[in-house]
Amino acid sequence: MLRYIARRLLLTVPLLVGISLISFLMMHMAPGGPIGAGTDMNPKATAESRARLQAYYGLDQPLHVQYGRWLGRMATLDFGDSFSPDGRPVAEKIKERIPITLTINVLSMGLIFLVAVPVGVYSAVRRGSLFDRISTVAVFTGFAIPTFWLALLMMILFGVKLGWLPISGISSMDFDSLGTLGKIADRGRHLVLPVLLAGFGGLAGMSRYMRSNMLEVIRQDYIATARAKGLPERTVVFRHAMRNALLPVITILGLSVPDLLGGSVIFETIFAIPGMGQLFYQGVMSRDYPLIMGILTIGAFLTLLGNLLADVGYALADPRIRQG
């Protein structure tokens, strides 16, 4: 097992290098370049002072030297300072925003798993039943609904018309005056809609996926064997079929990281949640290049981590993989 993990880790090294290369080149594509933003509009900036700044930031060096230095800074999570008025280090800004984004995404992954697996299994076992047909329609609709639109509708229904749930931020005005339990309840109420919506996109895909896995497994010979032995249907479905159908789901959960991260930009903006997605959106709107590149790199890193966890999880669950 350890050897498998080591080999898998080794495979990610060239990918990491590739990601950093693409990020670096993209940053160099940026119009104006890093100096331009500070000096283009400044009438006092002479050609000489510009050259001095270029030298100061190492921009007069050949590209590969610059890349090497940049890589060194990336390795220590030094993404430079934000262009925004506060001018704080990008790494610091991301660090304070990332927990809320990860919390919401982990919760919604849990939700996806808890809902999609039973729905998929039941649809497959009762293929063609009313439940199967309704869930199929629901899945297709789910694929086609723009999440941000659903968010708007839910805000109108639960926030504006019914007034059950708050529609903005992650805590109420009186948050600090609440007791511990009150704080938890308040935070929970604020997170209901975002978590539901973050998970929504994955829900349809995952239950469809689970259904087709189940259908595939049920056709296998060992299921026929289990039935022929006279095992109760319940045991056949849950012990023999579902456990095998669940294996690829681990992979899909790991692969869903980039979609969840991308989605967080949308729902964090809609619900005014101070997470990494909202920070990224603000960065894009104000052309805060260091911030954009920092979050892009972190996003790629998290995706890579998701893939890695998926592979390791799969290997843990399926002995055929780690020996192969």
Binding site: F140, W149, V160
Partner: protein, 278 residues
């Protein structure tokens, strides 16, 4: 493929319904005047945020513009973005996939590692970053969605090519003296068309969703040009007073995307009946 394929496709009621929806929106984009009598950009300060009525079947927005007219004219934007973006993605994916699968070796290794790297970036992050560097405009949106969406097609085409190039008819063509280009374009490419068509149809749906999300966030199609996404932005700004601004453009997106998805699934089933219902 051929007549048998068309027959199976038309017999699939869901796929036919999807096709009908797509045709309907083609018609709407081609002849917007037939479906909306108002001008999409005519501001009417007297009639701001009016609920649906006989004069304005879908109500008016925060500048008094007719929502029906804006939704109808927005159809053209969605269609254009969907098709151009998918065109770019499919062309690139085909090129990379064919080269990679046909030549193998280091060409394959380099191209596929590049695909792996591209797939590591959350697509929406990548699109947003590139848009931040460029100006948000409909052309940039199409290009960026296309340039970040070709990896799936490339993998698909590569896999198909790998199996097709080992078939006997390719060996026969080679024996008759056909060159690489002829084999790739006359023998391999036509046999990858079915899965590509499926991927492209589903891709249009994805591109329309992405465009609407970008326009909703204010970094896609810029007002006053109407797009389903940027009408929804006004819906969000007036969420407490005007539900119709949020409801109708979203419905248009939902129905269109559903149409492409159903047609795509239908094409898949018709091309390979063994996969039906999976």
């Amino acid at each position: 493929m051929g007549r048998d394929f068309a027959h199976r496709l038309l017999r699939n009621r869901l796929a036919a319904a999807g096709g009908a929806v797509i045709l309907f929106f083609f018609l709407v984009s081609a002849l917007p005047g037939l479906f909306a009598s108002h001008e999409p950009n005519r501001i009417d300060i007297v009639n701001i945020l009016r609920p649906p009525s006989a004069a304005h079947p879908l109500g008016t927005d925060d500048l008094g513009r007719d929502v029906l007219a804006r939704v109808v004219h927005g159809a053209r934007v969605s269609l254009k973005v969907g098709f151009v973006a998918v065109g770019i993605a499919t062309a690139l994916g085909l090129l990379v996939g064919l080269l990679s699968g046909f030549y193998g070796g280091w060409v394959d290794a380099v191209l596929m590692r590049f695909v792996d790297m591209m797939l590591c970036f959350p697509t929406f992050f990548l699109i947003l970053s590139v848009i931040a560097f460029l100006e948000p405009s409909i052309w940039n949106i199409m290009a960026v969605i296309g340039l970040t969406g070709w990896m799936g097609v490339a993998r698909l085409v590569r896999a198909e090519t790998l199996s097709i190039k080992e078939r006997d008819f390719v060996a026969a063509a080679r024996a008759q003296g056909a060159g690489d280009a002829r084999i790739i374009f006359r023998h391999v490419l036509p046999n990858t068309l079915a899965p590509i068509l499926v991927a492209a149809t589903l891709g249009v749906a994805g591109a329309i969703l992405t465009e609407s999300a970008l326009s909703f966030l204010g970094i896609g199609v810029q007002p006053p040009t109407p797009s389903w996404g940027n009408i929804l932005t006004a819906g969000k700004d007036n969420i407490e007073y005007a539900w119709w601004l949020s409801l109708f453009p979203g419905l248009a997106i939902l129905v269109t995307v559903l149409g492409y998805n159903l047609l795509g699934e239908g094409i898949r089933d018709a091309a390979d009946p063994r996969l039906k219902g999976r």
